[in-house]
Amino acid sequence: MYDKTVRRRRVVLGLLVASSLILLTAYFGESAGGGLHSVQRGVLDVVSPIQEGASRALKPVRDLFGWAGDTFHAKGQLKDVRKDRDALRAQNIQLQAKLREQAQLGDQIALNKQYELTDNRPVPAHVIGQDPNLWFTQITIDEGSSAGVSVNQAVVNGEGLVGKVTWVSPGTSIVTLATDHTTQIGATVSESGVKGIVQVEAGHPTGLVLGSLSGKDVVRPGETVVTSGTVSKVDKFPSPYPRNIPIGRVTRVDDAGSDNQQVHVAPFANGRRLDVVEVLTKGDVGR
């Protein structure tokens, strides 16, 4: 009897492990239109309305936790904020003078900015699901191909670039975040015009690194990194990200002045706290 129980237990465990390995192998072996991918699409279509409902129902709880977390976080940042305030006060005096000169241009720039975003046909969407594991590489949003969303479109929120669409069904889409290891973004340091490629920082799932720089490129902490858009003159290599979307701020530079210099960038968009995003359904519009 004991032997039978042990045998049965081992057989079940073996079958489950073998099934997992078979599924893994089959998933990697098939194309995007394969059987397992189709099942995933079907499950996503069934689960996403439930997810959406649960997400809305639990929003008050999320907000409560968010408020408590923000309070603790804000207390921790008080010292830094005071230091920033003093620096900003000095800057502000200088900027006031420039502001007067540029007052007339201000309205024009604001208008241009507004139209640039409108030209990219933004589609607002709610985040209805988030990757639960440590790597936080993707989110699920409640807009899909029926709203004009398609694969490789850029996704932004009020803080900056979030990522790009990598999977679309009629009612939902999967967005792979800028902090995913497969994501590479052509980027420019807005203050100096230095160009490079932004990708996730190795071993730091929420940090980014601006790489592919030469030793002559000078980048300083505090500078802003934005998307460079399509820089190739060949039309068949367009960037999915329209230019001048803010990505993050430079926090430090390792091996500055060498060809191997690594520029660490803290992304503006917090991938763990996304509620509403916008999908830019049209790419670069010749800005």
């Binding site: 997992s20 893994l24 997810q51 699901g129 440590l134 993707q138 071993g203 799932p205 763990r272 706290r273």
Partner: protein, 189 residues
């Protein structure tokens, strides 16, 4: 006493679906101490502790598969990790039959650590280019600690749902064996 298998399966399906939906829709967006709780290993370990190794492994496989399908992730990855977690928790109960009130906390924390390290290991094996860093270890440690805090209430919740379908209350202390002192029931007769 026989296990009410269909009733147990029904309750496990319910627990699995609710856990995945709550985890994906809410818990991942609630930050505490700079990290997020992960209900999956806690619930799977609780099922293993309550229902045994086979039920724990099957539940881990099914929940992992559902999670991978619902999140359009690599199918089979979570299943493989969670099969191990469920089976291990079940075997721990079968071999040791622990009775301490701290067991859910310790098993929950250990299951979380095993799941996170296992998942990260699988990610590395599948080609994620990220060396093991202090930050990664810190994130894992923070999640393990947070999960340790909520492990006992999660276990109590799972137990409450599954208890009517289980053959016996696994937390009930067995009557102490008649070994020392006094007369045995046989000699009394």
């Amino acid at each position: 006493m026989r296990v009410a298998v269909p009733q147990l399966v029904l309750r496990l399906v319910l627990v699995g679906i609710v856990t995945v939906l709550v985890q994906v829709s809410a818990v991942t967006q609630l930050q505490l101490f700079g990290t997020n709780a992960d209900l999956m290993p806690l619930v799977i370990a609780a099922v293993g502790l309550l229902a045994g190794s086979i039920a724990g492994a099957c539940f881990g496989f099914a929940v992992g598969l559902f999670l991978d399908l619902a999140l359009v992730q690599t199918v089979g990855l979570s299943s493989l990790v969670y099969v191990g977690v469920g089976y291990w928790a079940g075997r721990f109960r079968e071999l040791r039959d622990p009775q301490s009130a701290l067991v859910p906390l310790a098993v929950g924390a250990a299951a979380t650590a095993a799941a996170m390290v296992g998942y990260s290991l699988m990610q590395f094996l599948l080609g994620v280019e990220a060396p093991v860093s202090f930050l990664l270890a810190r994130e894992i440690l923070a999640t393990v600690l947070l999960n340790g805090v909520i492990a006992t209430p999660v276990y109590a919740g799972v137990r409450r749902v599954l208890l009517p379908a289980l053959p016996e209350d696994p937390r009930r202390r067995r009557r102490r064996a008649y070994t020392t002192g006094g007369l045995s029931p046989l000699s009394r007769a």
